[in-house]
Amino acid sequence: MDDSTKLFLQRFMRRIPSYMLRTTLEKWGRLTAAQQKSIDFTQSKWALTEALLTICEENKLAMKHLIELEMIYIMDNPNQGMWYVLQLLDPEDDAHSVELMQFKEQFKSHLKELVRHVSIKIKNHTDQAVWIRIAWGDAFSRPNHLKPTFGVHYLQTPYVFVTNLTSKQKPLLSQAVVLSTRYQAIKDANLSGRKLTAIRDLLMRKYQQVFPTKYPSPLAENNQTISNPHIVKEQAEPAANRLHMACKAFGGGALPQLQSAVYKLKTKFRDDPNKTMTEREEPFRCVVKFESTNLLESLRHCASSGIASTPVTPLLSCIPLKGRNYFVITDNDSGPSSQTHQPQN
């Protein structure tokens, strides 16, 4: 095994948590049963790395085998790093009939035409997802396996999720994806997050969206505080309404875990008591960033508890509705505009 392969394995071993190692190696399937048994998983990472290096040399494994291992790990743990969503536009007539094998071949050949030295690995996952791993090189250097880009495309949808993609690599990947999926263009979907599963669920509406309308009263709280029965009676209907509207905007049940939403506001200042500012022509520029461990739940709670007025403003309900979390708001349209945004890498 050459030095770069060793380095790759060492880096990988540093990254993977110890408790995941056994199952990932089993799934990889490149160790014999005896070898798998011989590894003592209670050792320190350093010792484990040495043991694994020896075994890989015995089996004469090369870089192309190791990247399979990495890919298995990432596919099982996609909720790390920062994922950005791209959306394909204007499908050709045959876009919907693109099959897996066709996509794979086409993507590989298109990308190889664009980039001289590139290493591509494609695997399909259980739920219609095609995982792509790309190690980029250029005209003079071999592919760099230490900084691969990962992409996930769900066939039959126009979405591509990417992580670790630099701004130089983006047009190349975009071109290859567009050509191989038989669409005409691709743009930023203005949605990003740390958890792939969350942004995927948000985008593809794989969570309970409609609140069951037959729910008669606000959900029972866990800690029953002693409250004034008059207040409770008086507030019962407004509270139920707020809850209903909050769930209509965001959905009932568990919500996908988005971490943040950013709004760039370029609208005119309007606060009637302040005449000077209201008459001003220029926009009042500001940026608002909402952050939370689970943003959609926080917003839903704001709406149901009255911190946010209901009906929920379209600016906020746009997040689940349009599946985006970056918006540029100007006065021209009543809702958020769909200007593109370059994700920072």
Partner: protein, 353 residues
């Protein structure tokens, strides 16, 4: 020691009485009640004058002051603290910390075998009035943990004791031998801060307490900093709010500096120019609250979220940043005096006497 204690108790009693008489009894927190209660935050302030203190203050000290984020506390007046005795205080504090280290305190900062050095220094050039005591800087130098042999000593802990523009009546009402340096700032390991504070408490019979920066003070800082935009660009006006949702929602609201300035100018009341320059430079609390209200309304118009439901945790501009937990950073030396004056006032206000 015995005599010292007795004289302190009798002095502290008379001190309490004289303080009360000079400023009125009940404390009113809101600052807007009519004049019967004297003890409240100013409702009018002079707009920050930019002080070019870079010429008056030692540049090393100034660098320390502007590059550090200070954790603020208030401290009651110090009995028999003398600016002439700073060298002896350095020695005493050194011994105290060494004894503390022997007992196993503050070992996470520097290991027991490393030598350390304490230095007290006076910062000349910061006082505006003659009544204010000079600012004192305290630094502890040592080799940090895991440092190599040849690495030089670095400052591992810094402290600041200051008093800027304190109410002169209050200062004159203090009994003899009491020095008022109500604002204490610390930066560095918590263990060392605790040691330094206990040394002060033992040596000068004073009390420390945390100084949180209240919502009103944060608003003042916002307004005062924005007011300086024409002289030194604030570059942005950033506010961080926390809303009590489940899970908690953090809102970072950053405003373009020119637009913030325009909004601020629009809420300023027209002033009678005959009052002179002093009158023109005054800022009323109503203007500050209108400014904040304008920002909140603009936010509400878009998101239908009322920021008043939450709490303002942090305000920052290029001139400095302030957090409600009591952490403060003054990045621009030109406005240091005015910011410290506001904080001195907060410290005096919070003192439990």
């Amino acid at each position: 020691m015995e005599r010292h204690r007795n004289s302190v108790t009798s002095k502290s009693k008379s001190y309490r009485m004289s303080y009360r008489s000079s400023l009125g009894a009940a404390a009113s927190r809101l600052g807007l009640t009519p004049a019967l209660t004297g003890r409240r935050l100013d409702t009018r302030r002079r707009a920050p004058k930019s002080h070019n203190i870079t010429e008056k203050v030692n540049p090393e000290q100034l660098a320390l002051l502007t590059k550090t984020e200070w954790q603020l506390s208030y401290v009651t007046p110090l009995y028999r603290f003398r600016h002439t005795q700073l060298k002896s205080y350095s020695g005493q504090l050194s011994a105290f910390i060494a004894a503390g280290k022997q007992q196993g305190l503050a070992v996470e900062v520097f290991d027991p075998q490393t030598a350390f050095r304490v230095s007290f220094s006076v910062v000349q050039g910061m006082t505006e009035s003659d009544d204010d005591a000079d600012t004192v800087l305290i630094q502890i130098h040592s080799k940090p943990l895991f440092a190599r042999q040849d690495e030089p000593q670095k400052t591992v802990w810094s402290g600041l004791l200051t008093c800027v523009n304190a109410n002169p009546e209050y200062l004159r009402s203090l009994p003899e031998y009491f020095i008022c340096l109500p604002l204490f700032g610390s930066s560095g390991a918590e263990g060392l801060t605790a040691l330094v504070k206990s040394w002060f408490q033992q040596s000068f019979d004073c009390c420390f307490g945390p100084l949180e920066i209240s919502h009103t003070s944060l608003q003042w800082l916002m307004a005062l900093w924005t007011n300086c935009h024409t002289e030194s660009s604030i570059q942005h006006l950033k506010m961080i709010w926390t809303l009590p949702a489940v899970p908690p929602l953090q809102v970072t609201y950053t405003v373009n500096p020119e637009d913030a300035w325009e909004l601020w100018s629009s809420v300023r009341k027209t002033r009678d120019k005959r009052g002179g320059e002093e009158e023109e430079n005054c800022i009323d609390i109503e203007e500050v609250t209108s400014f904040m209200q304008g920002l909140k309304s603009h936010f509400y118009r878009h998101f239908k979220l009322d920021l008043s439901a939450g709490s303002l945790n942090q305000v920052s501009t290029a001139l400095g940043s302030a957090k409600s937990s009591g952490r403060m950073k003054i990045s621009n030396s030109r406005y240091m005096i005015t910011t410290l004056a506001l904080l001195t006032e907060c410290a005096l206000f919070k003192m439990p006497i």
